[in-house]
Symmetry: D2
C-alpha cells in the first residue's frame, strides 16, 4: 500500500501518518520527492482498509499495490485449478460444455434436450428451477419440482446437473442433489449467501455481477474459499454498458486477465450476455479461441414456446453444428472436451 | 406492447405472430407501412414477456409501451406517498434527515453522535450493525450486538433507527426492533429477500443498485409492494460509471425522473456516492435543491479512528453547518424537516 | 510516479528498471518489502509516459502520483480564475447565466428570446449556428448566416454571444465575431482544433466529452492553455452511462471535484444532459446549490416548432420562474449574477 | 416511428399530434388501447427527428422503428461489401491483416518491422505519423516526415499503408499518399471532417468512438458515404466501461451485430482495446473466431524503447506465432488472408 501525501506536507504530518501506519501493524518507508512525499507500507495489507488513511488531512490518496485476495491468487498457486464436478473435470485443458434449457418446464422437455446435447458433446446439463426475474409478475420457475425433474433426467441420461441457488433456505437440498451450484450475477455480492457456500461440499459456479470489476469478482470467490470451499468456477456473462442493442456487453478480455490473476477456471455464458440466439454461435467460438475453460449455452427444443428467454436459446441442431466448430478451435488452443 | 416485423413480412408471418399475441390474451392491431409492418398489442401486457415474440423469425423487435409496474406507478396513484417511520413522516413535503455513523462501534460512540445530529436537526438515526464488505477479511460489523446498541441509543435519545438487513435469517428480529429496514445496493435484486420483506410491518429503505436502471429499481420496490408491504422509500446512492475519481457517480436526475414515474418518496445518500467527505456538503445541498425527500449522511465523531468508511464521514460540526444551509434551500423548494 | 515490480523481482530486474528511470531524467528511490518491491520516481513526471515502463517484464504496474497538468492545476494557482467574457465576469462568485435557443432560426426568433432571457437575468446569449448532428440527414444549422443573426441580436439587445465552433476553417471569423467560443462534447479531444484555439483571443467554453474522465477533460483545457490561451471555462453536460431514460447522466460531483483540481470556472448545461425540458428546473437549481459558476439553458419561444431539440427547451416564462429560485439558492452559496 | 400518447389522451390531443405528423409528410395510423393510444407514422422517417414530437404535452414517448441509415444498411444492400485497398481486398471472406508500429520513429525501424510482418502474412502496414495524445506534453508523432517514411517503406516492401488523419489541413496529402485513411476513435463524431472524407478517393478506416453505440458508429459511416465515399471499413477498438484494469473493454459482439446491420467490413484492433501486449494473442484469435474481417495489431521490434504505447506491442516473433494460429481459426470460419 502506498500513501501519497499532499504537496508541501510538513514533518509533523508525515510523523502522524507514519504512526497510523504503525498502529495497523505495518512498516513504513518514506520517499521524499521535490514536490511530494510518499509512504510505502510494508507487511500484510490485505486486512487494512486503505480508506482509513484518506481521512487524514495530509493524505492525498492511498493506492493498493498488492491484490487483496490470497486463496484465489495465482501468485500463491501457480498451477491451474482443475475442478471435479461429479467426475467431469473443468479447467487446465478440460472444457466444461454446459447446455440445457433456461427454465425447467417438464420431464419430457428436459429429457429430450438432455439427450440431444449429450449426443452433441455436452458434458453437463443446465436448467433453471428457481429463476431470478426482474418482475414479480414473471414466471419464477418450478422450484423444488424443477429440481426433481433435473435429478430424474440426470439419472436417466448421465449428465451431472447445474442449477441456480437463490436462497440460503435451500442450501441443504442443493448440497444433496445438485452437482454444480450456480450463483447468479445478481447475488454475486450477496455476502451472507457466499459465506454459507463455504460449508457446502459441492463446487460453485460463480457468475460475474453486471457491474463487477475483475477484482470484486475474485473477492467474491475469495469469500467462498475463505469460508471453506475452494472449488469455485468463474463464469463471464457480460457486463452492463451504455450499449443497449445487446442485453449486456460480453467482456472476453476477462479470460486472459483472470487467467493471469487467479488459478480458478473461467467459463463463458454467451446466451445471457447477448440475449439473442444469433449472437451465441460467434461468441461461443470466440470464447474458446480466447482460452475459456468452457461454455454454458441455452438450448431449447421449442424456443417459440419457452416459458423464459426463448429468444436466446439455440435449437439442438444449431448447438450440434456449433460444437463441431468449437472442437476444431479448441484443438488450436490445446484444449479438449 | 408493439411488435415490429422485419421488412417484407408476408401475410402468413403476420397471421402467425398475431395468433401468438391472441394466445397471450391480448388484442392485436396491425399497421402496415410502405417498408414495415407493426402490430400493436392491446390489453394488460405487464405479465407478458416481450422476448417471447422475438423468437419468431419474422419479428424484428418488440418494444414495451406501458410501464411494467402498477403498485408503484404514479399513473395509478397520483398523490405523493407519505411514509410514517415510527412517527416521522417522509415524503410529500417532509424531509427525512437520516444521520449517524457508518458502523456501530460502541454505545458511547453512537450515543454521542446521535445527540449531536439530533441537535442539528436530524430526525432519524442510522448505523450499520451488519456490514456488506467487498473483502471477507474486512470488519463485518458488530451484528446483533450492534443492533442492541442502536436500540439503546434510540430509547435514550428519541430518534427512530435505520439499519441494513443482509440476510433473511434476521428478518423477525429486524421487524421487531428496527424502525426503517434498509436494503443495500448489492441486495436490490436479491429477489428472495424482497419477497420476504412483503411480510414485514416496518417500512423499507431500498437503495438503488450500482447498475440498476430506474425501471429495475422501481420493479424491486414493486416486488416488496406486491408481496404485501407498500411502505417503501427509495434511496439514490450513485451508480457505477467509467469515472473512478469518485467511488460512484451520483445521479441526481433520478429525483425528478422517479418523482414522475412513482409516488414513493426518494432520498439521497451523498456519503456513499462519492466516498469522500468533502463531496458531501455540495451534493447534499444539490439533492435538496433537486427536490429530494431527504438525506442520509454519515457522521462520525472521530473519523480518523472509524472502523469503516471514515473517509466519507462528516464531523458533527460540519453536519450542523450543512443542515443550516439545507434548511434554507428546502424552503425554496417548499419542504421542511 | 510509482513503479511496482512483480513479486520476487531479482536484483538485476531492479537495476534494469532503475536504469530506465534514470534515462528519463528522474531520480529513483527503492522500497523493498517482504512480498514486493516498489520504485518511487522523483522529478518532473508530467512528460513521462508511465506505459513505457510496463513493457519491462519485471514491472507489474505503474501508477501516477502527480497530476499530469500544470497550467490548469489549482496546486500551482490557488485562487479561482475569473474569466472576462466581453465584460461579463465568470467564476469566483460571478455566475454565467447563458440562455437562448438550441439553433438559430431567424432574427425574429433570436431577438424575441434574447430580450426575454435578458429581462429574466441572463447575461450571455447562446444559439447554435453550426450544429453537430448524429445524422447527416438532420438539420445542420444556418452556418455563417446564423452567426450574423447572433451578432445582430447582440448589438440590439446587449448580450455577449456564445456559439459552437466545429471546424478550424471558421476559426478567424469566430475570433472576430464571437464573445465566447464553445467547443462541443464530441470535439473535446479533437486535439488539432484544441491546439489552434491557443492562438485565439476569445475565451473558450469547453464541454465535457460524453466519456471523458475529469483528468482527460482538464488535459483538454491544458492543451488550449499550453498553446497560449488561458481563458477556459469548463461545462459539465452529462456523461454516457447505462441509464437511457435520460439522454445522459448529469454528473454534479464534477463541480466540487473540479473546484479542487483546477482553478478554472465550471458551469452546467442541464438542457443537453437530460434531453427533457422537465428535468431542467430541478437540475439547474441543484447545479447552483452544488456550487457551479453558471448555467447554460436552452430557451425557445415556440418549442413545438423548434428545428432542433425543442423537447429540452424551456419557454421564457418557465425560465423566468427558474431564475427567481436560482437567485435565492445562489445567495446561500454566496454567489451572484 | 411510433408515437405513444400519455394515458387518457383526449380526442383533441390525438388530432393535434396527428396534424404534426402530417406536416412532416408522414401518414398516421391510430391504435387506441384500453390504457393508451399510439400513433404509427408511415413514410420516410429517416429525416424526421423523433424528439420534435416529444415537445407536445400529450406525447409520452416516441420510438424509432426503422434504422436511420440507408447507404450503410444491409437491408438495402444484402451482399457483403468488399473494399479494395490498393489491391488488397477486405471483406466478404478476405481478411485484412494490418500490422506495424504504433508510431513511426525512423526508416530503419519501420523497414525492419514491415519486412517481418509481411513475412508472417500481414497484407497492410500501419504506423502513426500524427498521434492523438491525451497530454499536450506527450510525443505527438513525426508528422509529414513520418508520412514520407511510411511511403518509402511501402515502395520498398510492397505493403499498402494505413495511417491516421487528424486534421482536414492534410486531407489532400493523405489522399495522394495514403492507401487507407484511418479516422481515430476521438474523431468518430468530428462531423466536419467526416463530410470532407466524402470527397476523397481513398477508402476510410473508421474506428469506433469510445462511447459510440452501434447505431452512432454506422451513422458516422453514413456521413462519409452520403458525402460521396462508399468505401468504409469499420474498426472495433474497445469501449469505455467501469472496468479499468484493461484500457477499454473489447466488444466482440459488435462483429455479429454489425454484420447483421450493415454490409461494410468490420475489423478489430486488440492492441488499443486492452492496452497490454499479453491480451493481444487471445483477443486476436477470438476476433477471427467471431467472424471479423481482419485485425490491426501493433508490432514493434523493440517495445522497451518505443516512443509510444510499447506496452501493447507484440514482438515480430510473437506476431508470427499468432498469425499461424489465426490462419487455422480463419479456416474454421471460411476466411482467408
Amino acid at each position: 500500500m502506498i500513501i501519497v501525501l499532499k504537496p508541501r506536507a510538513k514533518q509533523e504530518d508525515i510523523a502522524r501518518v507514519e504512526a497510523m501506519v504503525k498502529r495497523k501493524g505495518l512498516d513504513s518507508h518514506i520517499v521524499v520527492g521535490a514536490e511530494m512525499t510518499i509512504i510505502g507500507c510494508i507487511g500484510d495489507t490485505t486486512q487494512v482498509d486503505p480508506k482509513l488513511f484518506e481521512v487524514d488531512s495530509a493524505v492525498d490518496k492511498v493506492m493498493h499495490v498488492q491484490e487483496p485476495y490470497k486463496l484465489a491468487n495465482r501468485a500463491f498457486h501457480p498451477e491451474d485449478s482443475v475442478i471435479d464436478v461429479s467426475g467431469v473435470k473443468v479447467g487446465g485443458g478440460y472444457l466444461a460444455m454446459i447446455a440445457g434449457p433456461c427454465s425447467v418446464e417438464s420431464v419430457d422437455q428436459v429429457m429430450e434436450i438432455a439427450k440431444a446435447v449429450k449426443a452433441s458433446g455436452a458434458n453437463l446439463l443446465r436448467g433453471g428451477a428457481f429463476k431470478p426475474r426482474t418482475s414479480p409478475y414473471s414466471f419464477q420457475g418450478l422450484g423444488l419440482k424443477g429440481l426433481d425433474i433435473l435429478c430424474e433426467v440426470r439419472d436417466a441420461v448421465g449428465l451431472p446437473i447445474v442449477t441456480e441457488l437463490m436462497s440460503p433456505d435451500y442450501l441443504d437440498i442443493f448440497n444433496e442433489k445438485v452437482d454444480l451450484i450456480q450463483i447468479g450475477a445478481r447475488n454475486m455480492q450477496n455476502f451472507d449467501l457466499l459465506k454459507q457456500l463455504g460449508q457446502v461440499d459441492r463446487p460453485i459456479l460463480l457468475k460475474r455481477g453486471l457491474n463487477a470489476t475483475y477484482e470484486e469478482w475474485i473477492m467474491s470467490a475469495e469469500y467462498i474459499m475463505a469460508s471453506g470451499n475452494e472449488n469455485v468456477i468463474l463464469c463471464e456473462r457480460g457486463i452492463r454498458t451504455f450499449e443497449t442493442y445487446t442485453r449486456n456487453t460480453l467482456d472476453l478480455q476477462s479470460i486472459p486477465v483472470l487467467r493471469r490473476l487467479t488459478h480458478l477456471p473461467i467459463i463463458v455464458d454467451p446466451s445471457h450476455a447477448g440475449g439473442k440466439w444469433w449472437l451465441v454461435d460467434s461468441m461461443a467460438k470466440a470464447s474458446v479461441a480466447a482460452g475459456a475453460d468452457g461454455l454454458m449455452i441455452e438450448v431449447h427444443n421449442n424456443p417459440e414456446c419457452a416459458l423464459c428467454d426463448g429468444a436466446q436459446s439455440l435449437k439442438p441442431r444449431k448447438y450440434d453444428d456449433l460444437l463441431r466448430d468449437v472442437s476444431q478451435i479448441a484443438a488450436v488452443t490445446g484444449k479438449t472436451f
